[in-house]
């Protein structure tokens, strides 16, 4: 298993000697107000073009999905009846009017007459075991000294392998320049001792930037506070180094199941199975040789 024998600190296992602590995001969705300042700041700082002005009919989310030009994505879920259960709710039925439902007594997020909101600013997870980086054939995707994952645009040849490899649907290939693009965790700003643009712009500190160890401790405290306040649905997503991607460099506090936010509930880095796949492919290549040898030998003269 030496092919994928990797430690918990990605910068160290990528060969960095002395390096800064692993940096990341803790996105506390319980204080997100859906202002999209993060989306705007990201576009501005990274000079990303718009990718369409469509109205998508999904609450205030007209961004839709991550793309080559969209590295932050604020999601909106409208729900009625927050009875404190964690059962996922569909967005409000069109004919359900505000005030028709019983007001919820539990201290859910923004519960007004039974209508509640989930808002969350999604971003690249900068996985400890990053599939995009593993499968990149050119070395364009690399691990920075901060433990983040960044595309070197001048190396990427647009093979597109990272796109279906990502278990979160983050990275995308650009139609205009042919290369793959995603959040860099503002690598340029980090080098200058600055916070990423989205965290800088967030007015409620829903997006917290800092050393990952500190963020994990802070998030743990925040969940406990919310549980004490009766928000039983609060849970962390991606903070555990034991998950299928070895823990996310950008993790979240959610108020419902991950899939309600369009996040995979139990993502696994695809390369975890790669040693088994190579063994199978070698075995099958043996079948090819044997099959041809036997067929030709049996029919020879």
């Amino acid at each position: 298993m030496s092919l994928l024998d990797r430690g918990p600190d990605p910068a160290t296992s990528s060969g960095y000697g002395e390096h800064p602590p692993r940096m990341g995001f803790f996105t506390d969705t319980s204080v997100c107000i859906g202002c999209k300042a993060c989306e705007v700041a990201c576009k501005e700082w990274n000079s990303l073009d718009e990718d369409g002005y469509d109205l998508l009919g999904s609450s205030y989310d007209n961004t839709g999905a991550f793309g080559a030009q969209t590295w932050r994505h604020v999601k909106f879920v409208e729900r009625v009846d927050l009875s404190g259960s964690a059962a996922p709710m569909a967005p409000a039925e069109p004919d359900t009017l505000v005030g028709e439902r019983e007001p919820d007594g539990e201290g859910g997020p923004a519960g007004v007459d039974g209508l509640s909101w989930l808002m969350a600013s999604d971003v690249c997870k900068h996985c400890t075991h990053a599939a995009c980086l593993d499968v990149c054939p050119t070395g364009a995707l690399f691990r920075t000294e901060f433990g983040t994952v960044v595309v070197q645009d001048d190396v990427c040849n647009g093979c597109g392998y990272c796109v279906p490899a990502c278990p979160f649907g983050v990275i995308a290939r650009s139609d205009s320049d042919g290369g793959a693009h995603k959040c860099t965790l503002c690598y340029d700003r980090l080098g200058a001792g600055q916070r990423p643009a989205c965290a800088q712009a967030c007015p409620t500190e829903s997006i917290v930037f800092g050393p990952l160890d500190e963020l994990r401790a802070q998030a743990q405290r925040r969940v406990e506070v919310l549980h004490e306040q009766g928000v039983d649905a609060a849970r962390l997503y991606g903070e555990s180094p034991d998950d299928g991607v070895g823990g996310m460099g950008a993790f979240f506090l959610l108020l419902d199941e991950p899939e309600v936010y369009g996040l995979p509930p139990d993502p696994v880095v695809t390369t975890r199975d790669l040693p088994a796949m190579w063994r199978r492919a070698a075995l099958a290549a043996g079948v090819t040789v044997l099959g041809i040898a036997v067929a030709v030998a049996s029919g020879g003269r």
Binding site: T138, P164, T270, A281, V294
Partner: protein, 303 residues
């Protein structure tokens, strides 16, 4: 007791991205790469058994298919002018990197072996190139299965145990089909045997794959992918039948043999399109991503 699965999604939108790879570039490459690899192995085996016509068609087939495959792959790149960046590093974690390091020398050797065979220039070196192409030809027939399986696409990833065998079988029957097109009746026996072997390996492993995958394998059993895969199965059956029936030296027999060979080549091609087509379908519907993860499919026991 397992509670009933309750499926929630974000406006029914996909959780993962569809493959960025282009159709027909990539499925065509899957076909050509497999055909080239198996043809190179067949050419070498034919040389040992002194079957000159089979050797010749194998050498030429390997060279032409390999060159065509390289063109298809380069054309698929978002930045084709940078195709040489594929050889910038060697990464065992990237099936595309490993594949590039197989394909580049393979195609060079296959073309060299064919050129030597055609011109009669430097026969010993041509032979050596042929041996090299045969050695690399075997992994050429199966690494592309890892290429698809090493993604987050459920229909591809969850088939990773059987897909290399599907591709091995498909490659063998394609090479057999090519041989049936060109060899004289006296040399058709090996191609016949290879057609039957390839068909058996391919059909058995693809049946096993889609059954074992259950719900995640649904995209193979519906829509376009199913149509393509069924067409592939029928063409395979027709091809093997043609190979078995068309044994004689007469023109009718020859026509049947050639039709069978063409059917086998067509079968391999549409099968690759079918396998590929299931990928985007399973990426588009969040159920294929969320439900298996919820029920713990694909998770190893806790270490």
């Amino acid at each position: 007791m397992v509670p009933d699965a309750q499926f929630a999604s974000y406006y029914g939108r996909p959780v993962i991205k569809e493959p960025a790879w282009k159709v027909p570039d990539v499925p065509v490459y899957l076909f050509l790469g497999g055909l080239a690899g198996a043809s190179a192995v067949m050419a070498e085996a034919a040389w040992w058994r002194r079957l000159p016509a089979t050797e010749r068609v194998g050498r030429y087939g390997a060279a032409v298919a390999a060159a065509g495959g390289v063109v298809a792959l380069v054309h698929d790149l978002g930045r084709p002018q940078r195709f040489l960046n594929m050889l910038r590093v060697i990464k065992p974690t990237s099936p595309l990197s490993v594949g590039s390091w197989i394909l580049a020398p393979f195609s060079g050797l296959a073309v060299a072996a064919a050129a030597s065979r055609a011109t009669g220039v430097l026969p010993p070196l041509g032979r050596l190139a042929g041996v090299g192409a045969a050695v690399l030809g075997a992994p050429m027939t199966t690494y592309t299965a890892v290429l698809l399986a090493d993604t987050a696409i459920p229909a591809w990833h969850e088939g990773h145990r059987e897909l290399p065998f599907v591709f091995s079988g498909s490659s063998m029957s394609a090479a057999a089909g090519l041989a049936l097109l060109a060899v004289p009746p006296g040399e058709a026996a090996p191609a016949r045997a290879l057609a039957a072997t390839g068909a058996a390996v391919e059909l058995a492993s693809s049946q096993w794959m889609t059954r074992r995958m259950g719900f995640v394998g649904e995209p193979y059993r519906s829509g376009r992918a199913q149509t393509l895969l069924r067409t592939g199965e029928r063409l395979t059956a027709a091809g093997v039948a043609g190979a078995l029936v068309g044994r004689g030296p007469g023109p009718v027999s020859r026509a049947v043999r050639i039709a069978g060979g063409a059917a086998l080549l067509g079968a391999s091609l549409v099968t690759r399109f079918g396998i590929f087509a299931a990928g985007p379908v399973s990426a588009r519907d969040p159920r294929y991503v969320v439900e298996p993860q919820r029920s713990g499919v694909g998770r190893p026991p806790v270490r």
